[in-house]
């Protein structure tokens, strides 16, 4: 008798999030990205359709990052000083699916850049690239409320993904994003209940379910990865079992987390036994990312071109089934 694999039946699918709009659709992107839509757990093709492969967004900062290790900055090259060139390079050379523009320069403790300068960066990046865009604020509520609605307006028609909103601060940005036809990133602190509460609050403002991405917050390999993994897995199981308020694609800021890890940054001089920092950093990011692929992550926001390549190849293999 042939061994028959146990198959789960799921009643609900993850919603499909569309980022970017072509000329015909009122934007200026060369192509659009669709993610989510899973009808089963990650890569379990026998249990349901997985219509869209996980995508990779590469992180671009509006200011030159001052805390990135050299292994990372040198891989990007001199373009790191200019967000427009950096974004172009991510598209043409590193083959990113999307650009994730982080407006770090908006933070009051950083450069506290004026709004019009930040809006200009958004416009310039849009002009210089053809792939869809994600815009992320500096994380300081007051400043984000000032900056992001302006960016949302400036990008009207482009169907960008903008974030992040949190439970304590979601109304201002959600209202603009809703009005300008974009989608929103809802961030929760590794907590399935808060993730769901925030989604309910956002959709209570009549934001359609398919215009929300969940950032469940992740931890790098060695820094709470398992916990974050289990929260995502639980959320996805709930989504597939019928909970529409958790059935949104996940966006994971894996690059941000992985490159904060000491193991990714420390020089070989400091820890000779750990081996080459170049290889180590890339591996740390790639491994962190592939783990979250298995947890159901749909959009990976990454940093190093080499780990991007590794993960892209890995995704292709997984998608072959």
């Amino acid at each position: 008798m042939a061994l028959e694999l146990v198959k789960d039946k799921w009643v609900n699918a993850v919603s499909v999030l569309t980022i970017g709009a072509t000329k015909e659709e009122g934007g200026s992107r060369g192509r659009i990205v669709k993610c989510g839509g899973e009808e089963s757990l990650p890569f379990l093709f026998s249990e349901g359709k997985i219509p869209h492969r996980p995508v990779i967004a590469m992180e671009v900062l509006d200011v030159e990052p001052d805390d990135w290790p050299r292994t990372l900055t040198s891989a990007i090259g001199p373009a790191i000083k200019n967000p427009v060139e950096w974004a172009q390079k991510c598209e043409s050379e590193f083959k990113a699916d999307l650009i994730c523009l982080r407006l770090a320069g908006a933070h009051p403790d950083a450069q506290n850049k004026p709004v019009d300068q930040l809006v200009k960066v958004v416009k310039d990046v849009l002009k210089a690239t053809t792939i869809p865009l994600i815009i992320v604020g500096c994380g300081e509520d007051k400043r984000d409320n000032e900056v992001l609605p302006q960016c949302s307006q400036a990008a009207k028609g482009e169907k960008v993904l903008i974030g992040e909103v949190v439970q304590e601060n979601y109304k201002t940005l959600t209202a603009s994003v809703l009005a300008d036809g974009h989608s929103i990133i809802a961030q929760s602190p590794i907590d399935i209940n808060i993730a769901k509460q925030l989604n309910i609050l956002i959709t209570d403002m009549s934001m359609p379910l398919d215009r929300v991405a969940i950032n469940p917050t992740v931890g790098a390999l060695g820094y709470g990865l398992e916990y974050a993994y289990s929260i995502m897995e639980r959320a996805r199981l709930a989504a597939l079992s019928g909970d529409k308020m958790l059935a949104m694609p996940f966006i994971s800021f894996v690059g941000y987390e992985a490159w904060r890890a000491k193991e990714a940054k420390a020089l070989v001089l400091e820890f000779p036994k750990w081996g080459s920092e170049l290889e180590r950093g890339i591996t740390w990011e790639a491994l962190t990312t592939t783990a979250f692929l298995q947890a159901g992550a749909d959009i990976m926001v990454m940093r190093h071109p080499k780990s991007v390549e590794l993960v892209r190849n890995h995704i292709e293999e997984l998608m072959r089934g």
């Binding site: 304590e168 769901k196 209570d204």
Partner: protein, 644 residues
């Protein structure tokens, strides 16, 4: 040992303190109250004093600003005298019920420390039929004894026993040596006409008091509910069962920490147990004084007290070290406390009067819950019922006459009107019913006793949150919509706030408001209670729908809008007929026990029967709790009838 003289102003009280004693400790010995909510850890910064003369040294603290330091401010808990000193206790550090200003009282009330004893609802019996026969903890019998003669020469004591047994069946009688020593003289000088007070003591009957003449018409007792935040006391005529008065005040132990855990920790410090003990006893004695004076009753005619309280409160009342309550495996020193003399605990009634405490269940489910179960008659029916006592420590009991299980969840004091900006207990002037017009945001409210509003009580808060949700002023997370502009909505010190009543209209010192922080606190409280109830019901593999009745207890006064309590997710989504509002069921139960020996026997049975389910070791509790931190709940399918 070197001693220093410390003079405290403005009281002008002097005390000698040994070198090394903190100024705070010296103040307590001098009978001067200085605020301290961290219990002398140097954390809260509320015990500031000003050094006027002499030298003192202090451990470093960030609680004194540079400017204050220049003015001579010290944190009294971290400072010791280096010479004879004179210090002033500034207004903000004082707790003085005589001179307390409205503003201070308001601030202290917020911290859950101060309130004058106020008249509250007496708590009507929940079950209308008389369940227990009338046999109070202490009864008085007037005896006219036949003089001894050669034909009848039994001893004086036996003579009394014989007379008692001729009236009632009392097999085991005992008498203390103090009474026997006085007996021979007393009987003869009173012409063999005496009143004996008989107390039910641990399976025997004691002759507690022997008085000359007939005082049997004057026999009074007190029932107390000693809560973490609120102490309620009731004076009862033991002969007629009539309630003569009911008062409540905040438990002054809150000075040393707002929850039982902080207080247990504080009890371990030097004199900590003593201070906690005195805080509760003093408050009880004030209530006893006031109620007896108002009713023109001699304290000597108060012959017994009956206390219901959570396990920690009873330990502190009796000055028993509560340390082991919070240490694994969480075992109290005593759940069943024998009847003692009230005076042994410091309660000022007749010096020989009795004190009984309702037996407790576990470290975190106390005699107040036993009393509540008794008052609700949960132990007398086949029907499955749930008792939810909404207090600082929210306790839940599930079961029927065959089995009962309990659980406790730390909910905080806000439904008792403490720890919220304009909270007050359910007494005269408390806003208890609220409606908000969804279009104009006009607020309609009613107060207890229909007097001018002075604050908001628990039932008012339930209505307010429900109405704020309905009118879209707050979202399900409890945040006020930032896009709204209205004269009732403004930015305050603690986030946005919504005005319920303007000060011009009600004559209060400040507007009566609810802040986002208040809503957050109330959300946590309701979340903890709902989560505990949900966990307990699930633990027994039941669902809320299996329950025939849900009793809701707590310091709400006379009213709770059950549909609103469901609407905000405090209570499960069930038809309102299933909810029975019982108010302070602990006080009602305590009164029943005071008035009937049968009731104490039942209470003992209940306490033995109830098992305890520890939520803190239950991995899913935290998850259920966070899911409950939403209006009404993160899982909206649990509240199918709530449409926001």
């Amino acid at each position: 040992m070197e001693k220093f003289k410390i003079i405290f102003y403005p009281d002008n009280k002097t005390i000698e303190a040994e070198k090394g004693v903190t100024i705070l400790s010296a103040a307590i010995s001098a009978g001067i109250h200085i605020n301290s909510s961290c219990g002398g850890d140097g954390v809260c910064g509320r015990c500031k004093v000003i050094l006027k003369k002499g030298q003192a040294v202090s451990l470093p603290t960030g609680r004194i600003t540079a400017e204050e330091r220049k003015k001579g401010y010290y944190l009294s808990c971290l400072s010791v005298a280096q010479s004879d000193i004179e210090v002033e206790v500034p207004k903000e550090s004082r707790l003085d019920s005589e001179t307390i200003s409205d503003e201070d009282a308001y601030m202290l009330r917020l911290k859950g420390i101060f309130s004058e004893p106020v008249d509250i609802d007496r708590g009507e019996a929940i079950i209308s039929e008389e369940l227990f026969i009338h046999s109070p903890l202490a009864t008085k019998l007037y005896l006219e004894l036949p003089k001894p003669s050669l034909e009848d020469k039994i001893s004086d004591l036996e003579r009394i026993y014989r007379a008692i047994r001729a009236i009632q069946d009392t097999p085991v009688l005992q008498t203390g040596i103090a009474n026997i020593r006085r007996l021979g003289e007393l009987l003869r000088s009173s012409g063999w006409k005496v009143t004996v007070t008989l107390g039910k003591r641990n399976g025997t009957t004691e002759i507690v008091i022997i008085e000359p003449g007939d005082t049997s018409g004057r026999n009074y007792g007190f029932a107390f509910d000693i809560g973490t935040t609120t102490i309620s006391g009731q004076l009862i005529d033991l002969n007629s069962k009539k309630i003569l008065g009911t008062k409540a005040a905040f438990n002054k132990q809150a000075t040393f920490g707002s929850d039982v855990i902080t207080r247990i920790i504080f009890a371990q410090e030097k004199d900590g147990l003593e201070k906690l003990h005195h805080a509760v006893i003093d408050e009880m004695n004030v209530m006893i004084q006031e109620l007896t004076q108002e009713n023109k009753i001699d304290l000597n005619d108060v012959t017994c007290c009956l206390c219901a309280g959570n396990t920690t409160m009873i330990h502190l009342l009796l000055r028993v070290d509560p340390t082991y309550i919070r240490r694994d495996p969480y075992v109290p020193t005593a759940n069943f406390v024998p009847v003692i003399r009230a005076l042994e605990a410091g309660i000022k009634v007749n010096p020989r009067g009795l004190l009984d405490c309702v037996p407790g269940i576990s470290s975190y489910v106390g005699g107040d819950i036993t009393a509540g179960v008794l008052a609700c008659g949960m132990d007398k029916t086949d029907k499955l019922s749930l008792l939810i006592d909404i207090g600082t420590n929210g306790e839940i009991v599930l079961g029927n006459k065959d089995w009962m299980i309990s659980s406790a969840a730390s909910a905080g004091p806000c439904f008792e009107g403490s720890g919220v900006t304009c909270g007050m207990r359910a007494s005269k002037g408390a806003i208890q019913k609220v409606k908000i017009d969804p279009k104009t945001f006009t607020v309609e409210y009613s107060t207890i006793a229909d007097t001018q509003a002075s604050g908001i009580c628990g039932s008012g808060y339930i209505d307010i949150i429900a109405e704020l949700l309905r009118s879209g002023i707050i979202d399900r997370g409890g945040k006020i919509d930032p896009s709204l502009t209205h004269r009732r909505i403004r930015d305050g010190e603690y986030g946005k706030e919504f005005t319920i009543a303007f000060k011009e209209d009600v004559g209060t010192a400040a507007d009566i408001v609810i802040t986002e922080t208040d809503i957050e606190n109330l959300k946590r409280a309701k979340g903890a209670i709902y989560a505990a109830a949900a966990m307990l019901v699930r633990h027994m593999e039941l669902s809320f729908n299996d329950l025939a009745q849900i009793f809701i207890g707590g310091g709400f006064g006379t009213y709770v809008d059950m549909p609103n309590a469901v609407f905000i997710g405090l209570l499960p989504d069930l038809p309102k007929e299933k909810f029975v509002f019982v108010g302070n069921s602990s006080l009602i139960g305590a009164r029943q026990i005071l008035l009937s020996h049968d009731a104490i026997l039942d209470a003992e049975e209940i306490a033995k029967k109830i098992t305890y389910f520890e939520l803190s070791v239950e991995p899913n509790y935290m998850d259920e709790y966070v899911a409950s931190l939403f209006f009404p709940h993160t899982d909206l399918s649990k509240f199918p009838n709530v449409k926001i």
